[in-house]
């Protein structure tokens, strides 16, 4: 026993054990505690889960969360693709500038960018001013609507999408496209039959990453969104802060966690986990 421990400590365990133990104590145990609370607070059993799925409001929140995540994923993919394509395919100064803008945005706080949209879409902001100038009076309410939060989330997550798409596109050999053209394919045909299929892993990577991130979004929907259609993270926040309902909040957290990890597991079965962040 003692000798096996000392043998263990002479290997790589010395190096990885501190990190592994840290994660065990400050990541896994707190998460298991959430699962535990969801079945024990205030009563033992499945009460928190049956209450959640019996509430049409909460099921609506869950469905709304998935719907929003799907819209954000699709929209950000549509806008991200051309940027990643130009950066990867043509490179040069333009490519570098595009990547710089995207990287800076990627690292800029969600909170700061959410604040910017609050100003831009606000009552005294440029968008409202433009609408009034175009004769739209009274101007429509933009802030605190589902549109505002969906729009801002798309903006926030586009850099994720661009960077993951770019990582895959960078490795696509440009000569394939020239070969296709040489064989008589029109640019659009060459793109749809050569480039697009080759970029599919990037599309899958980016979409899963954006979808998963969007499922758990808290800050932006709370600040910019309509109080009428909440997302699940906001509901969990309400249950903790206003209701002090730890059992209910835990059950919702577990539902969110299972959805997230389930999607993630499904994805990594097909694509391999290691490809997601490279």
């Amino acid at each position: 026993m003692g000798s096996s421990v000392s043998r263990l400590l002479r290997g790589p365990a010395v190096l990885y054990l501190p990190a592994a133990l840290f994660l065990l104590v400050f990541f896994l145990v707190p998460l298991f505690n959430v699962a535990w609370m969801s079945f024990t607070e205030p009563d033992t059993g499945f009460g928190n889960y049956t209450a959640f799925f019996a509430s049409s409001f909460d099921v609506g929140v869950l469905l709304n969360t998935f719907k929003t995540a799907a819209i954000v994923t699709l929209t950000s993919l549509i806008f991200a693709y051309p940027v990643a394509y130009v950066a990867a395919r043509y490179g040069g100064a333009l490519g570098s500038i595009l990547l710089l803008v995207v990287t800076l945005s990627f690292w800029t706080s969600f909170l700061v960018r959410t604040y910017a949209w609050m100003v831009i879409l606000g009552v005294k902001g440029p968008v409202t001013a433009a609408l009034i100038m175009l004769g739209w009076s009274p101007p429509p309410q933009i802030l605190f609507t589902t549109f505002a939060s969906t729009f801002a989330m798309t903006h926030l997550l586009m850099p994720f999408m661009i960077l993951t798409l770019y990582a895959v596109m960078r490795r696509i050999d440009g000569t394939y496209m020239r070969a296709a053209a040489g064989l008589g394919a029109k640019p659009l045909k060459a793109f749809t039959s050569i480039y697009l299929p080759l970029s599919l892993p990037g599309i899958a990577n980016g979409s899963v990453l954006v979808f998963i991130t969007c499922l758990g979004f808290y800050v932006t929907p709370v600040l910019l969104g309509s109080p009428r259609d909440k997302m699940i993270a906001g509901r969990i926040g309400d249950e903790i802060e206003q209701m002090l309902n730890f059992g209910g909040a835990s059950a919702m957290a577990i539902v969110l966690l299972v959805a997230t990890l389930g999607l993630f597991a499904l994805y990594s079965r097909f694509f391999g986990l290691d490809k997601l962040w490279r």
């Binding site: 994660l23 051309p82 940027v83 909170l111 005294k124 926040g237 957290a253 962040w277």
Partner: protein, 267 residues
């Protein structure tokens, strides 16, 4: 002949990039604005909001707290992640894939779930509203960032440098101190910077587990949003953006300088 109209798609990409950059064109001018509320374009310019940001205790305390927590998180994360990265890249052991997965997991679990987890767990450990609690939580979430950067750097490390040192009679520890560490210094710097930014930026968990005296800057900003849109927010936002700018620019400069100075051993 092969011809492709590239202009429309390039133009489209530039327009989208402008859209991505748009918030900064608003936040930075706003921080110099004289407007008492959220108004854009600003009616006039002054430095008053910066002055308040750096003198008002409601903002200086959160800034101080965020720096303390960020530094604590950076040190603890690097101390834990660096050896683990060495083990992952240089050794084969049972459960390595599982460890790698576990180290990446904090990237996938939604922050609100972790916020609830820490709120209740740290409640039991009496760590709510403490620096320690926030540092522990942020360290856990920063681990994947540090591991990703450090393992990437280690994979490209040319081990012939270490072998050469050993051949010339250097002891392992001396080799590590004189060869391995200096070569990896930029990677440590980058990992440290990004971990710091990660912690400096984290809102959701800080919202739930920081207290009145340990309020972080993002938490103060979030509350300021909810209450009244205090324009000091834009000064705070600009300061955060500048921090990111430095974090992104410094590694690029380091890489450029290093690229000029060191002739790669393989080329």
């Amino acid at each position: 002949m092969y011809s492709e109209k590239t202009l429309p798609v390039k133009l489209l990409a530039v327009l989208i990039a402008l859209f991505i950059a748009a918030p900064m064109f608003v936040v930075i001018p706003m921080s110099f604005s004289t407007a008492p509320s959220l108004e854009f374009p600003p009616p006039g310019y002054w430095l008053g909001y910066y002055q308040r940001f750096f003198t008002d205790r409601n903002w200086t305390l959160p800034l101080f707290n965020s720096i303390v927590i960020g530094l604590g998180t950076t040190v603890l994360t690097l101390v834990l992640a660096a050896p683990a990265a060495f083990a992952l890249v240089r050794h084969d052991f049972r459960g390595k894939a599982l460890l790698n997965l576990a180290l990446m997991m904090p990237l996938v679990v939604p922050h609100i779930v972790m916020a609830l987890a820490y709120y209740s767990y740290f409640g039991m450990l009496r760590l709510v509203q403490s620096y320690t609690g926030l540092i522990l939580a942020h360290t856990c979430l920063s681990m994947p960032v540090a591991i990703l950067i450090l393992t990437a750097a280690l994979k490209t490390f040319d081990r012939n440098l270490e072998r050469a040192a050993a051949n010339l009679g250097s002891r392992p520890l001396t080799t590590f101190r004189l060869i391995t560490l200096p070569v990896l210094k930029p990677a440590f710097l980058v990992a440290g910077l990004f971990v710091f930014i990660h912690s400096f930026d984290e809102t959701v968990i800080a919202l739930f587990i920081s207290g009145r005296d340990t309020t972080t800057l993002p938490r103060q900003m979030f509350n300021s949003f909810l209450m009244q849109a205090d324009p000091v927010l834009s000064a705070a936002s600009s300061v955060l953006f500048t921090a990111v700018l430095i974090a992104v620019a410094v590694p690029a400069v380091v890489r450029a300088v290093r690229g000029k100075r060191a002739v790669s051993p393989r080329s």
